[in-house]
Symmetry: C2
Subunit: 592 residues, 2 copies
């Protein structure tokens, strides 16, 4: 039996050096330049079978991408065509730079909700400008390998943020769902207040359509359960109907609105109306905009966006990486590459009037379920959107706002993770508090502040936990005298110095005369000067009474650090086996 | 041999509950009310012997407190009498509420330097207002038990801050040292630029006096080395002369200035001039002030102070606690009590025109060396200052500015810890970077920003370190197949979830077919939902290939958390001995 070990304290610093060298090398190698454009890897092997599968998946996704695009444009407060434009460029750019076959890039509910604030407060230009800005930030973070920052957002915080976003988005749609008049709001509270204020303008026809839309969507989702692409014809049909349910309800809505128009000659339902048709004009993103009577320049726009210019990109990275991990199938996700692809999607998209885009969970899952083989599927989604933009805008004119509202609210209903509340209640009430705190701040102050609050709360608790490491105390009463062993943890950071000092003093006060206190450092790997100074200064304090202190099995580098701080106590460091008998033996030997 | 253990994972939560209960109880008990006013403990035992020792110590400290008070008022840009007023109330208030006999409360160089910005930019009123405000903040932090916040300032950051403060204070005195004309500056860089700009106004008489003052101070410090209060007469005299060196050089300066005035009829040296004599008027602290032609109200003043209203109190707490620990002699410092005392010193002091005060290291050391027995020593220091204010202001008129500058610069010279640079270079280069970064930010942007930068840097590095725990990997090749053991650390916080996932995937990719990966959780105590979710999701990814994964010796609460997240994998948790043989045995048994 042979045992090999990696990752010990000595090899660690060498590993770090190596990994730094490696990442420097990686940036420049031919292989990495090639891996920057993953299309170069899969395109040579592309064939007709793959093509057919990609076409089928691409079109299936397109059937969802079109109604979702329009819906998310509405969520952001933009004209519907912006949502379609946003679904276009993402797919084409990701085709070249993306490394996960399933991912579809486009507008998402959360990014739309985060953009809404700027659109309603300022102008449409802001949506495109935010996409451009966010693209550069994502790209820069990708190049600088800063993707690890999203690791500092814990699941309770992500879940709280998502729940709050869903509530905020859904609440903003209530006005449309019930055919009311008036604006909704940028925050959950504002939307709810406006909803109750406008409740008298309630319209029965829109309401019925809206509620029925929700019911149909829920029913269609259910009938698809347990069915897949590879089942028999009936099951396959159920599966397809379930997948295309967003398109189905929108088409039903259009038909109803059209019939009502033709039969009554009026437009009794509130519909989305005129949609700019045709391709978006290719133009530089807006670096200035007119708000009211004032022209805002680049700097003004940047100031308006403020902290959002970091948080929105971080959220888009978070969405993308989470989806990539979910669909990577055990393969490690190249986060850097994904971030570069996402950044380029946003930057290039912003030249074609795109709002901020990222990986969409619904459409990625759909893409995967439809059997997509390469990122080429995105082309066919794009072509379908292009066709819609060219031919169907006069049809889209009749989309009832209540249908879209129903569609959005249903999607939001499924976005919330209800089970996490019970799960955290059972396993970790502390984390339940983070979850609820994140939700509350999101709903009361806005999504950005909520996610910041959650991350800061998590980080502060982690810091405070580091400052209070657990210190096991074993009292050994033997014939040769009492020995108290304080077992030091793996890591003692600066902020634990005082805690350790207090613990030692407390132990020494309670100890009988002639007791020996042993600091067992066998698993201690990391310690800094602050702790070392405290340890060296506490010796004098403890040994004022008739108590001795010894440092057992300290790593040589930590021992050296202590000795540099106070060379006088060099002889207090001893080595022995780590069993209790060994400790008693060596310490009795030393003190005798 | 009996072994008792405290602090295991199970008992921890109970310990926390207990300590919460205890601290609630502590606030209300009679004992704690009594311990809030420590004078009630020592006054009943007070006697004539103690009184005589306290008088001697108090007067010795007074001899330093007077020149230092005047000097630090100058550092803050205030008229000299403010420094004396500040030395008065502190001692009287601390007498009642202070728990460490040695500590003397008064103005310090660092607090003076931090106050200087407001005085030079606005008005004298700001110094008193800052003392008042800072007093309330310190008191509130004391009552709320927030003293532990200073544990998050590591030694390299404290040292960098102190070094930068010393450089800043000393640089601001260069103009006075060389008898130049013109203002100095609020920052190191500004002071140095102003110094070189004004270098043509250099005055030879002041310069000689200033430089000679420094030399005398250094010589007097040296002759006192190795001497103490209890030595023979000669050594005792040397000791006394060394202790009173600040008073000595000021007196020499006064004599020279006076003689020059009498002989030449002019005032060829720059002297401090008129000092407001007598007691300070007792009046409420200024809640509004006039700056230029504008009146600033309470809110304006609060806004001006901004972040300083937290940082200045934190620094004063830091100074006090550090000194208290140094002189506590192994007894645990009651940080809460000290903070309450300090808060009251500042609040009550601000009614008698005091600038911010805290424990002074020099004078506390002097107090200790002079054999003080109780905080009553402070009364006699106070009385000496009162006498000086009543009788000596016409004498203080002649104090040469160059003498004071020499005194301040020498004190700053000794405040810097030169050895820490070499020590950190040898033991911890990472911490040397924090030290230098803190110094640079302090010198370039100001002391407040420097300490914030240092603390944030430390905290961020700690967070990143927590996100990358060391995971030992042991490969065991046995006849029955390969086993790879990944040893989990004591604590796996949310931010380590991705790192762990990547490690497991990496190990599984490299592993041969039929390998068993064992996650050894024997020392794992803390893990949160984020890590648990990642662990449960990685199983599926790993087991797609022909590799199995097992969770060995997980604590029951952690196992339960994982099972709630995914009950399907309940059978993957096994228990065995923790030696390699045991692991191989149990895992082979499970997989067969």
């Amino acid at each position: 039996m042979t045992v090999t070990n990696s990752g010990s304290a000595e090899t660690r610093s060498r590993t770090i050096q190596k990994s730094v060298k490696k990442s420097c090398k990686n940036v420049c190698s031919v292989k990495s330049v090639k891996s920057l454009v993953p299309i170069t890897t899969w395109l040579p092997k592309y064939n007709i079978t793959l093509l057919i599968q990609d076409i089928i998946a691409g079109i299936t996704v397109g059937l969802t991408a079109i109604p979702q695009g329009i819906a998310y444009a509405i969520v952001a407060g933009l004209p519907p065509e912006y949502g379609l434009y946003s679904g276009l460029m993402g797919g084409f750019v990701y085709l070249f730079f993306g490394s996960c076959k399933d991912i579809t890039i486009g507008p998402t509910a959360i990014l739309a909700a985060m953009t809404a604030k700027y659109v309603s407060g300022y102008s449409y230009d802001y949506a495109v400008f935010v996409a451009f800005l966010s693209g550069w930030v994502v790209l820069a973070m990708g190049v600088m390998n800063l993707g690890f920052l999203v690791e500092f957002i814990s699941i309770p915080v992500i879940s709280g943020f998502t729940t709050a976003a869903a509530l905020q988005i859904a609440s903003a749609q209530l006005i449309s769902l019930f055919g009311m008049k008036g604006a909704s709001g940028n925050y959950f509270s504002e939307s709810m207040i406006n909803f109750f204020k406008s409740i008298t303008t309630f319209n029965i026809r829109d309401s019925i359509l809206g509620v029925v839309t929700i019911l149909i969507l829920m029913a269609l989702k259910r009938i698809g359960e347990g069915c897949s692409r590879t089942d028999g014809v009936v099951k396959q049909l159920r599966w397809l109907l379930s997948l295309a349910r967003n398109a189905v309800v929108v088409i039903i809505g259009i038909i109803i609105a059209y019939i009502l128009k033709v039969t009554t000659g009026e437009e009794p339902l509130r519909i989305i109306g005129e949609i700019g048709s045709g391709l978006p004009t290719i133009q530089p993103p807006p670096f200035s905009t007119v708000v009211g009577n004032e022209t805002q320049n680049f700097t003004d726009m940047l100031q308006t966006i403020g902290a959002g210019s970091i948080i929105l990109p971080l959220v888009s990275i978070l969405e993308l990486i989470a989806i990539a991990k979910a669909f990577a199938g055990g393969v490690e996700v190249n986060a850097t590459q994904e971030m570069i692809a996402l950044g380029l999607c946003n930057i290039i998209g912003s030249f074609a009037l795109s709002m901020p885009v990222t990986g969409s969970f619904t459409r990625t899952a759909l893409n995967n379920a439809s059997g997509v083989q390469t990122p080429a599927g995105g082309i066919f989604t794009g072509i379908l959107i292009l066709l819609a933009l060219s031919l169907l805008t006069s049809t889209f004119y009749y989309i009832p706002r209540a249908s879209l509202a129903g569609l959005i609210i249903t999607a939001m209903f499924y976005m919330i993770d209800y089970k996490i509340f019970a799960r955290l209640w059972r396993t970790s009430k502390k984390e339940l508090i983070y979850l609820i705190a994140t939700i509350c701040v999101c709903l009361l102050l806005g999504l950005e502040y909520g996610i910041i609050a959650g991350v800061v709360l998590d980080a502060l608790v982690l810091l405070f936990t580091s400052a209070r490491p657990s210190l096991d105390v074993n009292t050994i009463s033997s014939a040769k005298g009492n020995v108290i062993v304080i077992r030091l943890p793996e890591c003692l950071p600066y902020c634990a110095a005082d805690h350790l000092r207090r613990k030692i003093l407390k132990v020494s006060f309670k100890a009988k005369s002639d007791t020996l206190i042993v600091m067992d450092g066998v698993i201690l790997r990391k310690m800094d000067t602050t702790v070392a100074s405290n340890l060296m200064s506490v010796i004098k304090d403890v040994e004022k009474t008739n108590i001795k202190i010894l440092f057992l099995n300290f790593h040589v580098s930590i021992k050296e650090m202590c000795n540099v701080i106070n060379p006088k106590y060099r002889n207090k460091f001893v080595t022995s086996g780590s069993s209790i008998e060994d400790i008693v033996e060596v310490t009795v030997k030393v003190t005798v």
